[in-house]
């Protein structure tokens, strides 16, 4: 197993081999991140590619005082958000209409749900809800930070999170709630 620092050095030297090692080490995990922010796998892979280019270009800026994976993950998340910001102009309006229909969706039992099902659930959220939900719940960002990076107000961030949770809950159904209560 090659150590992260060795890979970083190799990549900084421009070694294509080390770039591949870095990519292969982190790509599956980072695709896991991107998938949550995307609507489908294609979009996620776009984000992944864009994110990795940034990783390689900014590698010299990694100071090594935190986790390398965490650093890459932050770049991926930022790339995903930029993707969202670009999309927002076109899709924001559509999202709001979408919500009305979704709320009446059928209930899904939790024990039948695997990661991929949950992922589909997250991906089905309107892009704004999805991004806030991901940032707050999975990445652990604060509302203030979310508001800053997404250029929305803190209260919008809070509302979107609330809506996202309610929507997910509705879709997860009553059975899921019983499990959670335990």
């Amino acid at each position: 197993m090659i150590h992260d620092s060795e890979i970083i050095r190799g990549c900084l030297k421009g070694s294509l081999k080390m770039q591949k090692v870095l990519y292969e080490r982190f790509a599956p995990k980072m695709l896991g991140v991107c998938l949550r922010y995307a609507r489908d796998k294609e979009e996620a892979e776009d984000m992944l590619q864009e994110g990795f280019i940034k990783v390689f270009m900014k590698l010299g800026e990694f100071r090594g005082d935190g986790s390398f994976e965490g650093w890459i993950r932050r770049i991926m998340v930022n790339t995903a958000i930029n993707y969202y910001l670009r999309l927002r102009k076109h899709f924001y309006q559509q999202d709001i209409k979408e919500i009305e229909e979704i709320t009446e969706d059928s209930q899904i039992a939790f024990d039948q749900l695997h990661v991929k099902d949950l992922l589909r659930l997250v991906q089905s959220l309107p892009v704004g809800y999805r991004t806030v939900f991901n940032l707050y719940e999975i990445e652990g960002y604060q509302h203030k930070e979310i508001a800053e990076i997404m250029s929305i107000s803190v209260s919008t961030s809070k509302t979107q999170l609330l809506h996202a949770r309610r929507l997910l809950q509705k879709r997860l159904g009553a059975y899921n709630l019983q499990i959670d209560r335990k």
Binding site: E6, R9, L12, K13, G14, L16, Q19, K20, Y23, A27, P28, K29, L31, G32, L35, R36, K41, E45, L48, Q49, F52, I53, F56, M57, G60, D65, G66, S67, E69, G70, W71, R73, R74, V115, L118, L119, V122, F133, Y136, E137, I138, E139, G140, L162, R165, R166, L168, Q169, L172, N176, L177, D180, R181
Partner: protein, 358 residues
């Protein structure tokens, strides 16, 4: 209702914590194409960085020495400057070779310096810059060469330390000191004045370590090495449990011996970091608590493997209860970074992982 909403977030967080999926191979192919386009930029950067680094070191070095040195040196500086732009066009391997030459050039040059007070500020600058150069180019662990001509030795240590600390932020902090026990006696004009010295020179180096730390001792270069420990290698690693003095007799090719002494002073600043804890309120190991003695200033940061700061304190009596924003953090390995200052005001750092067991 609100509580249940929060649980949804937790549920998703747990599920997605280790979620990964293999991307389509096409992604890498596209990425590689993009990277190749940008490769020339990387290449010019990696070629350029070490050369600039070395040039900077050389310039800084000679700037400090010009007052006490003869006029020979300024011309050397200009040579280096000429070398630098040339090297850009040469392959990266050759750039490395030039670098090696430079480091060799520096050592005899520093031997000539007799005034020790001037060395002190110089070395400080020397070490970090060198590090940049090596980090960018290759992984040659260079020994921080320190001069010890029966010079106040305490300062020597403090110089070598920041450099090594940065490269090895683990608990075992290595310190490498190479006392150059050579002095120029220019009474007899011979090509190698070093070897004429008839008296066995004694140089002394003091090193302060914390209990449990290992030190690597490096003898000055010579023909044969005899350590008080019975070792015959040039460098030995020692892990004393109390204050100890090590001696090495170095013979050069003419059979002239010199003695170097290493005083390893043991400080009572051992740090105990648990490897795991179980915050399940059963009364045992519910907190992640670091214990230590002789620690004046203390700071710990704990990160999740995503790089998220989960816990931070400057109070040693404070431990992490395994909670994150009021909820139980997932069972996982967490990365800690500890910085502390011991009673003598020396700075140490440690890094590692602790496992949260539910």
């Amino acid at each position: 209702m609100e509580q249940e909403n929060h649980n949804i977030g937790n549920r998703f967080r747990e599920v997605f914590a280790d979620f990964e999926q293999t991307p389509n191979p096409v992604v890498w192919k596209q990425l590689r194409r993009n990277l190749l386009l940008k490769k020339w930029l990387h290449l010019s950067y990696t070629r350029f960085a070490p050369v600039v680094g070395i040039a900077l070191v050389v310039v800084l070095y000679f700037q400090y020495n010009i007052p006490s040195e003869t006029q020979v040196l300024p011309t050397e500086t200009s040579q280096e400057k000429v070398l630098a732009p040339q090297a850009q066009t040469i392959a990266a391997v050759e750039a490395k070779a030039i670098k090696d030459e430079n480091t060799e050039n520096q050592q005899p040059a520093s031997d000539k310096v007799v005034k020790s007070p001037e060395q002190a500020p110089l070395k400080k600058i020397d070490a970090p810059v060198n590090q940049k150069a090596t980090a960018a180019s290759s992984h040659e662990t260079r020994e921080t060469t320190t001069e010890a001509q029966t010079v106040p030795t305490e300062t020597t240590i403090s110089q070598s330390k920041p450099a090594t600390l940065a490269t090895t932020p683990t608990k075992v902090i290595e310190k490498k000191t190479t006392p150059k026990a050579s002095e120029n006696h220019v009474k007899e004009p011979t090509p190698q004045p070093d070897l004429i010295n008839p008296e066995p020179l004694i140089s002394e180096t003091s090193i302060q370590i914390c209990l449990g730390e290992e030190v690597s001792l490096v003898a000055p270069e010579g023909w044969r090495y005899t350590w008080s420990t019975g070792d015959y290698a040039r460098n030995i690693a020692v892990k004393p449990t109390e204050t100890t003095t090590y001696e090495v007799t170095v013979e050069n090719s003419d059979g002239v011996a010199s003695v170097s002494r290493f005083n390893i002073e043991m400080l009572d600043c051992a740090l105990y970091v648990p490897r795991a804890f179980s915050p399940n309120d059963d009364g045992s190991n519910d907190l992640f608590l670091v214990r230590g003695e002789g620690i004046v200033q203390f700071e710990i940061k704990l990160f999740s493997k995503w790089g998220e700061l989960v816990f931070e304190t400057r109070d040693m009596t404070q431990g992490w209860d395994g909670k994150l924003r009021g909820n139980r953090a997932p069972a996982d390995a967490y990365i800690y970074q500890i910085h502390f200052t011991d009673e003598t005001g020396k700075h140490h750092s440690a890094q590692g992982t602790v496992t949260l067991i539910p």
